[in-house]
């Protein structure tokens, strides 16, 4: 399902302009990371995708739906949104009930709900925790519950807001697996992240925001190679991109495979 945003402007009630003329198109099945400094407008932008925020000016289209003409509840059938803090999202007594809540509300029948829940729990490695109260789990696993409760809704578009914050290496790898599986299923995945190494290793397209405007938008390597421009929105290129640059590598590299590839070619 295509996302089309044109000339989106948004002001908070205190008059602060959070988004200043954002135009972009995201095709069905794309994996996009959004980066940029604190306060750049990243969360404000994605909250327009499911109608939590409405444009003061401009247009947001999810498929053929104008977000101002459909309720948040309706848009939830197309766009799933995983909050930055799982505690703002979870409220049920057990993991199983929590993960079933979304698909049940979307009107799936009992059997479908069961299948969707089972799949989402397997994907997030929570199958053995169905009966646990989410708040008895560590914050790591609560994050996975938050992911599962959105995945179970089987929306075409899934938005993650800072999925790796405060997560250890093992869980970051789990989250990367979830994203890879969603890609295989043809889902559009949009992720806000400050973890630029995670971003480089898991996304093909990167959008850098600064002061409510699009600073850069393109293929991962093209964007990550722009060290000076990224610095204006407080983003450092990934570790291996910086290393490659210091070693005068051409082209830009962003992960171990690309780095080692250029390194061994340089030698031959």
């Amino acid at each position: 399902m295509k996302i089309e945003i044109s000339d989106l402007q948004f002001y908070y009630p205190n008059g602060v302009q959070a988004l200043d003329g954002i135009s972009l198109t995201i095709d069905s099945g794309e994996q996009v990371a959004i980066v940029g400094q604190n306060g750049a407008g990243k969360t404000t932008l994605v909250k327009h995708l499911n109608g939590l925020l409405q444009p003061n000016q401009g247009l947001v289209l999810i498929g053929d739906w104008d977000t101002t003409k459909h309720s948040v509840a309706k848009l939830a059938s197309r766009v799933g949104y995983v909050f930055q803090n799982p505690d703002e999202q979870l409220f049920s007594k057990t993991v199983g009930v929590e993960v079933a809540f979304g698909p049940r509300n979307l009107g799936f029948n009992g059997e479908q709900v069961q299948a969707l829940v089972k799949d989402a729990l397997a994907l997030t490695e929570l199958s053995d925790k169905t009966e646990t109260n989410p708040y008895d789990l560590s914050v790591t696993w609560r994050k996975m519950v938050a992911l599962a409760s959105i995945i179970s809704m089987d929306t075409d578009i899934v938005v993650f807001d800072e999925p790796t914050t405060g997560q250890d290496a093992v869980n970051i790898a789990r989250i990367a697996n979830v994203i890879a599986e969603l890609r295989k299923r043809g889902k559009t995945v949009i992720t806000i992240t400050h973890d630029i190494d995670f971003c480089a290793e898991n996304f093909e397209r990167i959008i850098a925001l600064s002061h409510g405007k699009i600073l850069l938008d393109g293929k991962a390597n093209e964007v990550l190679g722009q060290e000076e421009i990224l610095a204006t929105t407080y983003v450092d290129p990934p570790q291996l991109t910086r290393l490659g640059k210091r070693l005068n590598f051409n082209p830009t590299v962003r992960n171990e495979e690309e780095f080692l590839d250029v390194l061994s070619k340089d030698r031959s």
Binding site: N38, Q84, G166, H194, Y234
Partner: protein
């Protein structure tokens, strides 16, 4: 700071969150604590900050001593004069009693009876240090996560504690903001403040910390210089994160493309090691 055989169990739990931790930290030392989620990192922070045993009940054995005072024999209000803690979630730290960031930062100082003029100076200096002077008149609740974290850190710095305990203080910050805050923490250590920092961002630990302690299952797993600990092959096997420099160099060894004995932990070390490759080639 001195910990001897510290073991702690939360109420109603079977397994200790901390097991037999012994640890001496010198004044002005910058110690980073790494470990998988659930390793006991935050519990260790609470113990150093006196929340265990004064706020969290449960069972604490062993000795926790800062500046010659034992936490058992001290009240929390005395303890906070020596040890300041910035919480993992800055939202939990904001008092809720103040309308502006400036007032929020003065809150701790009011509680310990610092004269008004000194309070103002301390708050202004600390805000300058952490780069939040422009937030002074904002409501603490109107800030982004990263900004709130800077406020939380600043609210501890104004107290000028001997020991600074920071639980993932940059988790919600943008990358360059993170680097800046690490620089601030480093400066505090150079001024003689002892720093205990829980952090997943290995690249900056490698560059700024004096010492790294790896925690696993409530126990000290490794303790040494950043280079000793962060290049240990045991880390990856046990679910710890390592820097991409270390990890890519380890793979390069197998391809005959890393010749140094020691693996790199920082960008500069990686550049140096991989550049060596080219000089070798031209000289041979």
């Amino acid at each position: 700071m001195n910990l001897q055989n510290v073991t702690y169990k939360y109420p109603l739990t079977e397994t200790p969150a901390l097991q037999n931790i012994s640890l001496q930290v010198n004044d002005g030392e910058f110690v980073a604590i790494i470990g998988p989620n659930g390793a006991g990192k935050s519990t260790l922070c609470y113990t150093l900050a006196g929340f265990v045993p004064h706020f969290f009940k449960g069972e604490l054995t062993g000795l926790v001593e800062v500046a010659g005072i034992e936490s058992h024999n001290s009240s929390l209000s005395e303890w906070v004069l020596n040890v300041g803690l910035a919480f993992q979630n800055p939202f939990n730290q904001i008092s809720g009693a103040k309308y502006t960031v400036f007032e929020e930062l003065a809150f701790g100082l009011e509680n310990i009876g610092i004269p008004r003029e000194e309070m103002k100076t301390r708050v202004e200096d600390a805000m300058k240090l952490t780069g939040i002077s422009d937030l002074a008149e904002r409501s603490p609740y109107s800030l982004s996560g990263g900004q709130q974290q800077r406020v939380a850190l600043t609210s501890i710095l104004v107290m000028q504690p001997k020991v600074l305990v920071l639980d993932e203080p940059t988790s919600q910050m943008d990358p360059i903001g993170t680097r800046e805050v690490f620089g601030v923490i480093r400066r505090m250590a150079e001024r003689g403040m002892t720093v205990i920092l829980v952090e997943h961002k290995v690249e900056w630990i490698a560059q700024f910390a004096d010492r790294v302690i790896a925690l696993k299952d409530g126990q000290i797993f490794l303790d040494g210089t950043p280079s000793e600990v962060l290049t240990s092959p045991l880390l990856q096997e046990n679910g710890f994160g390592i820097s991409r420099y270390t990890s890519v160099a380890r793979k390069a060894i197998e391809m005959g493309l890393w010749k140094k004995d020691r693996l790199p932990i920082t960008l500069d070390e990686a550049v140096e090691g991989f550049s060596l490759l080219n000089t070798d080639e031209t000289s041979s």
